[in-house]
């Protein structure tokens, strides 16, 4: 195929020609790769957080019922659980006990869970991996809590939860129901909220409406709804950071524009030679296309690989704080590497499309150099 051979000949020429201007093209590729790296890091990172979030919520109840009092979240009586259990389609209702405990000495908030069928004794406690590391002020090997009355009570740590569950359990402390009520002063028969299981997911909406009707003072929350909120929050953050980085990208594209328009005399002369030797404007444009593609793809690959290493191997050290930032305990967990083809294509668009369209006019300007310039110059 002669048109393939032609493309190959132009590609060969382009590659040989790029290698000659190592310093100039190297600087361009580095700047370009940096922009790709920044955008890709944000994208990989927010996707990873989102995936973690989904993993967390996969184990969460489909429907949670909270009681509202004066527009605020309040405890819910056990009697509600009984009446909800009678609604058709509901297979199980589990009253839950949980809350937050602020440890003044270490300056961090922990999530505390009270279980009715806790496998250990009432003065023992199970801790999440991050919580176990953070709770440094042990007394005689015990976790010391200040109860709601102001006195102290100690718990013996018996188990640390495995690393895999890090995002959910990182700051988690688990104790028995009795111990929970003793620490927080929650009266018998009152719970934090109810976890409801619905037999057929299609009936979820009906069940939710029924609960709302029977107990107008409650707020049922579906897991799907949390997932969606979660998604929009993460994506929104990622999107906003990209908008911020658009500044950096813009700076780069101005640089690229400048590089492309500020064609050096030497390059112009070279294109003049090619034109004189029988290259058409279209041939020079093809060569410029291969040049742009080589630069874009190299930068794209470099930037993407660097971002992958940054996010998944170096735990996104550059901006983890800004993006995660909701609790001091969440700082160090390795992210599971997830990269979606959609995002790679989006990244390709965000980086390659502006470069392509910005360089097309300068490339054309170079390509229309008169072939007889080489003769007039001499």
């Amino acid at each position: 195929m002669s048109s393939l051979e032609r493309q190959r000949a132009f590609l060969d020429y382009t590659l040989a020609s790029l290698v000659r201007r190592k310093a100039k093209n190297g600087a361009l590729v580095l700047a370009y790769a940096l922009v790709v790296f920044l955008i890709a890091s944000v994208m990989f990172f927010s996707r990873a957080l989102r995936t973690e979030g989904q993993a967390v919520l996969a184990g969460a109840p489909e429907l949670v019922v909270q009681r509202m009092l004066a527009g605020r979240f309040d405890t819910i009586p056990a009697s509600y659980a009984d009446s909800i259990r009678r609604i058709r389609g509901v297979s199980e209702v589990e009253p839950r006990l949980w809350g937050y405990y602020f440890n003044r000495a270490v300056g961090a908030t922990f999530t505390v869970l009270g279980l009715p069928d806790f496998a250990h004794a009432d003065d023992e406690i199970v801790a999440g991996p991050a919580a176990a590391k953070a709770w440094t002020n042990l007394q005689d090997g015990r976790y010391l809590f200040r109860t709601f009355k102001g006195d102290s009570t100690g718990f013996k740590p018996v188990q640390v939860l495995p690393e895999e569950t890090r995002l959910v359990s990182a700051d988690l402390l688990i104790m028995s129901e009795t111990a929970f009520r003793q620490v927080f002063g929650l009266p018998e028969g009152q719970y934090t909220d109810l976890a409801v299981t619905v037999r057929n997911p299609q009936e979820m909406q009906t069940v939710t409406e029924k609960i709302q009707r029977e107990h107008p003072d409650t707020r049922p929350i579906q897991r799907e709804e949390i997932l969606r909120t979660y998604e929009s929050v993460f994506e929104w953050r990622g999107g906003m950071v990209i908008v911020v980085f658009a500044g950096a990208a813009l700076a780069f594209f101005i640089f690229a524009w400048d590089k492309a328009t500020g064609l050096s005399a030497e390059e112009r002369h070279e294109i003049g030679i090619l034109k004189a030797l029988g290259w058409d404007t279209a041939d020079v444009l093809v060569m410029k296309f291969w040049e742009g593609l080589a630069i874009s793809l190299t930068s794209f690959l470099l930037g993407t690989i660097a971002a992958y290493a940054h996010v998944f191997l170096a735990d996104a050290g550059l901006f983890a704080q800004a993006l995660k930032g909701w609790s001091v305990l969440y700082v160090d967990f390795p992210l599971s590497p997830v990269v979606s083809p959609t995002e790679l294509l989006a990244l390709f668009f965000l980086s390659v499309a502006p470069y392509t369209f910005i360089t097309v006019i300068p490339a054309w300007r170079a390509a229309i150099t008169d072939p007889d310039t080489v003769m007039r110059a001499s």
Partner: protein, 229 residues
Amino acid sequence: MIRVENVTKVFNPGRPSEYVALRGVSAAVPENKVVVLTGPSGSGKTTLLSLLGCMARPTSGRIHLGEREISSLPERFLAELRRTAFGFIFQSFNLVPGLTTLENVMVPACPLGQPRHQVRDRAAALLEKFRLGGKIGQTVESLSGGEKQRTAIARALINDPPTIIADEPTANLDTALSLEFLEIVGQLRAEGKTFIIASHDAIVHEAQVVDQVISLRDGMVVPAGPHDC
């Protein structure tokens, strides 16, 4: 046969920098001859050469390449003619810096889409013919003046064009190398090539190999000289 009829070339028309390079020039270059364009600088010989070589279009007048009228062809057809009908040798050689000798010779063949190994073999054979077989992989900066000139000749021949156009080919060469160049011209004419050479170098005008001299002055042809045949 290449003929120009009443050709005018005006640069920057209508501007203060307007400059008339050729005023109604008519001339003909017969096949398999060596024709020299001569004249002082500014006489229009380079402009005429670039019109003959399809590098620019005349402002008015006609150019015929064989039977074909080419003065108003779109650019891409002119480019096609440049790479198939002509080979070019420039005053300052105009080799592409940074590329090897072989790559330089292959440049005019890029747009043809011939299989690469064929082009490469042809380029290597040409370099061998001009005693540059040992310099194939070297970048052109490392070549001497005579080697550069021979590389430029090899490049002009890569697409096997019937006509070679040379602009002041001996300007950067000493006498020995100039004579060597004229010897190559003689060989190639014997192989059937036509040469159009712009030069104000006496060595070139007086060479045995030259069939015809066209003198230009102020953009017009000066009546025939002694070499005319």
